[in-house]
Amino acid sequence: MSIAVRDITKRFGPFTALDGVSLDFAPGKLIALLGPSGCGKTTLLRIIAGLEWADSGRVLLGDQDASDRHVRERQVGFVFQHYALFRHMTVFENVAFGLRVKPRVARPSEAQIRKRVDDLLELVQLGWLASRYPTQLSGGQRQRIALARALAVEPRVLLLDEPFGALDAQVRKELRGWLRRLHSELHLTSIFVTHDQDEALDVADEIVLMNKGRVEQVGAAQDVYETPATEFACSFLGAVNRFPGRIRGDELELAGDWLPVVAHGIGEGEKAIALARPHELQILSIDSAGPGLRARVERVLINGPVARIELKGETILNGTGSYPTFEAEVPRDRLGGLDLKVGKHVRLSANRLRAFPYQSL
């Protein structure tokens, strides 16, 4: 079932959590709502579920306007960051809850309930925990039970609020893959909220990137990563190096040096900022001609197949007031040819960087 929101606005006192958000979520997709904390992603999810009311705007579930519907009529499955399992019930009773509270005419028989709960516990591979209490489970197990509980009532959509946020890194990675596989079995329209860009890129079909109550960019995970639409989108999705300067044709002028850039919609001579990911930077010999700016190697970190190099620029760039720091990544096998030592002077360059209009901070 598709989900859509239209012009959703929500304020908490003077704070605007959502500022006229409109989005369409295609049926059967697994979508990530990604953004820094306080960007309004959880509020949007709760408004879709009906746990929060929008000041204005509409929520559409399928082709029905659900804006005025009560939570229990929306048939959404909701998974909470801190699981929200019923602590006084066994795992079995937690999963059975949604079936037991159905109105008498719609309530399945005891045998049907037992069958359905057993099937669900099988689906999340935790059948052997049926008679335990939530406090006796690990975090990862609890979240899987919470998911089984949400699925018990056959929801039309599944909403997950930072589902892996309270888990440690190892379990989180494991559950990501597991959620991915589960989704490809169920094909239930699912939205999950996260502030972790790796998690979003790893799990989601599509990413909705949010910032300060607005949508920054929507697109397939790879597209958002490779062609970010805004400076925020680019810097949120991974580490970046910043080059503030002025546009001169196809070049970004940087206090005497220059880099080749692609600048759309920025006029000649205007201030711009170019962003480069660490692996996009090239480290050249200080005597090499052409583009690039002078820098000095501060630190070389080698762990794993990629070496990380920290550098300090030797020119003060536009409006920064101090020498900039950069971070470059070089495959380990190419490190030998560069002969990098701490204190060595080099030239730092990059191919066709994306330039965005400069916004003073």
Partner: protein, 299 residues
């Protein structure tokens, strides 16, 4: 989750045992003995002795006098009235306590802090003043006095006044037990119940109530103990009419003033027994709550 049952280290010893066994942190044995002796002496002098005195004095003139003092009509009517007052005021405060705790912990509204402060008012106001307030409002010369007289309703110097005063005094017990617990538990489980299709009542019955039941019972027991033992506020509104508006604590006072010491202590011993029973129940509930905190509830 340890928490309620005290902090345990890896080998399951309590923090105090660890502290005691460790030569680096252990106190001088004399300091330990002096602290123990002082607290035990204090305990014996101010808690155990008065309690024992009640029972000794009650039985000083023999068991037959004791039984007679409890079965004479005025005593029986005082016991009956005390039970009635508790039976009315405790359920009222149970409902109010849940409602207030629910409102404070699950909703956001203006004046919440004020309501929390207001709930504590009966603890900070002298019970005598609480009684006087009711006399001023419902008494013959009070605000509603003339209207009540015209409609032939008696509040002051009658059972309704005693119930009102008791409800006022025991007002905070249930709410104060529930508010911190419900604040700590948050609203997520309730929200989960709603998304699973539960109605408001089902959510309360199946999720909220089981989560708060032990704290609720604890509050009710304390509330009941105070309702039966309240003296000040009830004394002001009751009028001390023997056989009609005397509760057990008031009856004790009257008997004592009439130099019927054995009878006075006999009735007092009933109240003391109630107190002991309350303590036993309270300890049991605390133990249950701790159990629940460590390994979950067993149905």
């Amino acid at each position: 989750m340890a928490g309620a049952s005290g902090t345990l280290d890896l080998r399951g010893r309590s923090a105090s045992a660890r502290f005691e066994e460790n030569p680096a942190t252990r106190d001088n044995p004399w300091a330990r003995r002096i602290i123990l002796a002082t607290s035990l002496a204090f305990f014996a002098l101010f808690l155990v002795m008065p309690l024992a005195a009640v029972f000794v004095e009650a039985l000083r003139r023999g068991l037959s006098v004791y039984v007679a003092a409890l079965t004479e009509p005025d005593a029986l009517s005082a016991i009956k009235l005390t039970l009635i007052v508790a039976a009315v005021s405790v359920p009222m405060n149970l409902v109010f306590g849940i409602a207030a705790a629910w409102a404070i912990t699950k909703f956001d509204f203006k004046g919440k802090q004020f309501l929390i402060t207001l709930i504590d008012l009966p603890f900070s106001v002298s019970p005598v003043i609480a009684g006087l307030v009711f006399v001023l409002v419902f008494g013959a010369q009070g605000w509603f006095g003339p209207w009540l007289r015209e409609n032939d309703i008696k509040v002051i110097f009658a059972v309704p006044g005693i119930v009102l005063a008791t409800v006022f005094v025991t007002f905070p017990f249930v709410a104060r037990e529930l508010i911190p617990l419900m604040q700590a538990q948050g609203t997520e489980e309730e929200e989960a119940a709603l998304t699973l299709g539960a109605t408001g009542w089902q959510m309360f019955r199946r999720v909220t109530l089981p989560n708060i039941k032990w704290a609720l019972l604890y509050g009710v027991i304390l509330c009941n103990a105070r309702a039966m033992g309240e003296f000040g506020a009830v004394s002001v509104v009751s009028g001390h009419i023997r056989g009609l508006t005397n509760t057990m604590p008031l009856h004790v006072e009257i008997l004592y003033n009439e130099y019927q010491f054995a009878a006075a202590f006999a009735v007092a011993s009933l109240l003391a027994l109630l107190a002991l029973l309350t303590l036993a129940l309270k300890s049991y509930i605390e133990w249950r709550t701790a159990q629940q905190g460590t390994v979950g509830d067993t149905p």
